[in-house]
Symmetry: C4
Subunit: 232 residues, 4 copies
C-alpha cells in the first residue's frame, strides 16, 4: 500500500513534467523515495509519457536493485541513487532536458542570481559541474554523474540549492519529495529563461546583492518565512 | 454586497493574469480598491490560481489591516497600499514576474518607446527604479518598494505611465480598476518582448519622435482620442 | 446579399488573425473590397475579437464614407482606402502588430530574403518605409501612412510584394482578397522570426541568389507555377 | 492492402508533423517506402493538413511515376526519390521549414554537437550542404537537391546521421520508416533551438568530446544500447 502510494505520486510527478512542457518524447525522469522503507520508485526507461501508469513505475532499493516491476528503470537511475544515498533530506529527484536550463548546461555556464524570482527559490547562483573525464564517462557513467554532482554541491545544503546543471548535459533537481523536485525543475527553467534574456540585455549584469538574496529566500524558506499560509 | 462585487472583480482579474500566461505557480497578484469605502481586495498569499474563488480574496483597509477573510493577504500588500494612498486616481494594482518585463527589470534597464504599440499605451519609456539599499530591504521591504516606485514616478501621472519596473525584481502596473491594471501588465509584457527583439536587431535604436508618441497616445487617451467606440 | 457575403468573409478573416495568434486584445484589423460595387467591409474600431460578428463589420465606399453599420470603423481605415484606390489588383488588406514583423518595423530594418520560405511568398526583401515627418503624423496621419506605403512600394507589383513594414509602427499586408491578406500576414511573421534568428547566427548573411529567389517564387506564382493542385 | 497500410502510416506521419507544431499552412511533407514492392506514398502538393486523409496520399514507383492517386505529389518528390534510391536502409523521409533548423540552414551553418540531447540522436554535428549552383537550381532543381544532400553525407551512414540542412532552404530527415523520419525532424528542431541558445551564451563553445558523444549515441543505438525496453 505504501508502495502503491509512492508509485501513484511518482507517476503523477512524471506526468506533471510533461504537462508543464518540460519534456519531448520519452526524455526526462522523476523518482521518489520512501526513506523509511528504503524504496525508490522511478519512471521506466524509454516509455512515452502517455503510457505511464502507476503500475509501470519501477521499484528499487537504495543499492539500485529492482525489487518490483517488469520494466527496465530509467537509465539515469544510478544518478538518482547517488543523490539519495548522500543526502538524507532528499526525497525526490527530477531530470529534464528543458530548453533554457539545458542551454546553460551546454554552455557550461552557471546561472547567476539576477533577480528575485531566482532568489525566491535558490539561495545563490545555480552551479554547473565540471566536465566529466573520459574515464568517468566510459565506466559507470550514470553513477559518476551523481558523484560529480555531489562534488560540485560540496557543502551547500539541499534546501539552499535544490538544482544543478551537469556540464554538456542538462539539469537535475531535487526536493523533500517528488513533487518538490518537479517544481524545482519548472522554476529552474523559468529562471534560466529570464537569465538568458537578462544577459542579452546587459551582458555584464552581476548577481543581486546578498541582502536582497537573503531577504527573498528567507521570505519563503526557514524560520523567517512569511510568504503563503500557515500549514493546516 | 459592494464587497462581494469587489471580491468578484479582483478574483476574475487574478485569474485573467493566469489565463494570459503571465504567471507560474502562485507568482503574481492583483488588487482592487473601492475608494469610496476605503476597502481593498487582494489575492491571498501563496494560493495557487486554480483554487482562487471570490471568497478567498482578502479585504483590508488602506492602512493594511485585514478586515475580512481568514487567509494571509499577498506578501506584496504594503506595496499596493503605498500606491493607493499616494495616487487618488489608481483603483487597481497588478504585479507579475512576466518573462520579458522581468528581464528588463533584472537588467535594471528602462524600456524605451520604440514603436507605436508602446506609444498607444504608455506615454514614454517605462522607467526602472533605482536599486534598493540594504536598509530599505531589511526593514519594511514591501512598503519601501512602494516608496521607491513613487519616488521614481515622481510627477508623472498614473494615466501617462501606468507601469514601472522594480530593479532586480519585476513589473508593477496599475489603472482605474483591477481589470485596467491587468491589461497594462499584459501590454507591458508584449511591449517588453518587442523592445527586446528590436534592441537585438538594432542596438542603438532610439525612442520614436515625440510627435509620433503624442499622436498615438492621444488616439487612445484624453480629449483627442478617436480610437474605439463612444461609451454607451 | 453580396454585402452579407463580404461581411462574412471579412469577419472570418479578422477572426483568423486572432486564431493564428497574431493579435492581442483589439489590435489589428482586416478589410475586404467588393471592387465591382466599390464597397469595403472592415473591422470596427476597438472591438475585441470575441465579440466580432458579420453584423459588426462596417461598410464604406472607397472615399471612406460609412454606408452601413452603426459602429466606428477601424481608425486605420484611411490607410486601407489609400491602398485600394492606388492598386486595382488588391482586394484585401490586413494590419497587425505581430511580434517579429513589428520588431523589424521598430528597428526600421527591411527583412532580407534569407531563404526559400521567404522566396516562396515574397519576391525579394520586405521593404520598410521611411519615417514619417511631423507634418505627415500631425494631419491626416492614417491617410499619409497609406501614401508613404505606396511611395515605398513604388513600381513593385502587389503580387511580387504583398507586405510592407511601416517604420516605428508595424506590418501591413494585402492580397487578391481578405483571406490572402491574412495569409500574407501569417507568413510574414514566420519569415520575420526566421530572419531574426538567422541574423543572430550569421550577422553578415546576405540575400539568397536571384536565381534561387526566382525559382522558388516561380514555383508558386505566375505561369511557371507547379506547386499545388490545378484549380478545380 | 499493403498500399492501404502505407497510405495510412504516411498520412498519420504527415499529421504528426502538424500536431508537433513543425509546419505552417501546407509547408512540409513526409513520405514512406514499401521497399519490397518499390512503392512510395507521399503527401499531395499544396493540400492543407486538415484535409489530409489516407486516400489523398499519392503512390509512386521509385522512378517517380505516379501509379495511384489523382492529386499531384509534393513538389519535393524527386528529392525523396533520390534518397530512397541511394540509401537502401531509408524507409521514410520528412521535410519541414521548422523554425530553428531552418534558421541554421539559412545561415548556412552546421549544428555542432553541443550536448547529450544532440548526441542521443545524431552521431556528430548536423551537416549543411553547399549552396546549389545556378545550373542545379534552374534544371531538375528538386532532383539536384537530393544529389547535393547525398554528396554532403558522403559516406556517413543513415543511422549515424539521419538529418541534414539544405543551405538557404531547410532541413530534411529520414529513418527506417516514416515515423522515424518525423521523429528525427522533431528532435532536430529541439536540438537546433538548444544550439541557438548555447551559441548565444557562449559563442566559442566547441563540440562535446568524442567519448561523450559515443557514450550517449551508443546508449540508444546499436549493439551497446541499454536505453529503453527490450523489443517485445
Amino acid at each position: 500500500m505504501q508502495a502503491d502510494k509512492l508509485r501513484n505520486e511518482v507517476c503523477t510527478a512524471n506526468l506533471e513534467l510533461a504537462r508543464r512542457g518540460l519534456v519531448t518524447y520519452t526524455w526526462g525522469n522523476v523518482s521518489g523515495l520512501d526513506r523509511e522503507r528504503g524504496i525508490v520508485a522511478i519512471k521506466p526507461s524509454g516509455v512515452s509519457y502517455d503510457r505511464l501508469t502507476p503500475e509501470t513505475m519501477v521499484l528499487l532499493n537504495l543499492e539500485g536493485d529492482v525489487i518490483e516491476g517488469t520494466l527496465n528503470p530509467s537509465s539515469d537511475t544510478p544518478t538518482h541513487m547517488a543523490l539519495y544515498r548522500a543526502r538524507p533530506d532528499i526525497g525526490g529527484v527530477a531530470h529534464t532536458h528543458s530548453t533554457y536550463a539545458t542551454a546553460f548546461a551546454q554552455a557550461c555556464t552557471p546561472i547567476p542570481c539576477l533577480g528575485t524570482t531566482h532568489a525566491d527559490h535558490f539561495h545563490g547562483g545555480i552551479p554547473v559541474t565540471r566536465r566529466m573525464t573520459e574515464e568517468e564517462v566510459t565506466d559507470n557513467y550514470e553513477a559518476n554523474t551523481g558523484r560529480v554532482i555531489l562534488e560540485t554541491l560540496d557543502n551547500q545544503s539541499s534546501i539552499d540549492m535544490p538544482a544543478i546543471l551537469v556540464a554538456n548535459h542538462g539539469p537535475f533537481s531535487w526536493g523533500k519529495d517528488c513533487q518538490a523536485a518537479v517544481k524545482n525543475s519548472v522554476v529552474l527553467e523559468s529562471v534560466a529563461l529570464m537569465a538568458f534574456l537578462t544577459r542579452n540585455l546587459s551582458p555584464e549584469q552581476g548577481a543581486i546583492p546578498r541582502y536582497l538574496l537573503d531577504r527573498h529566500f528567507g521570505r519563503k524558506h526557514g524560520p523567517t518565512a512569511y510568504y503563503g499560509q500557515p500549514e493546516a
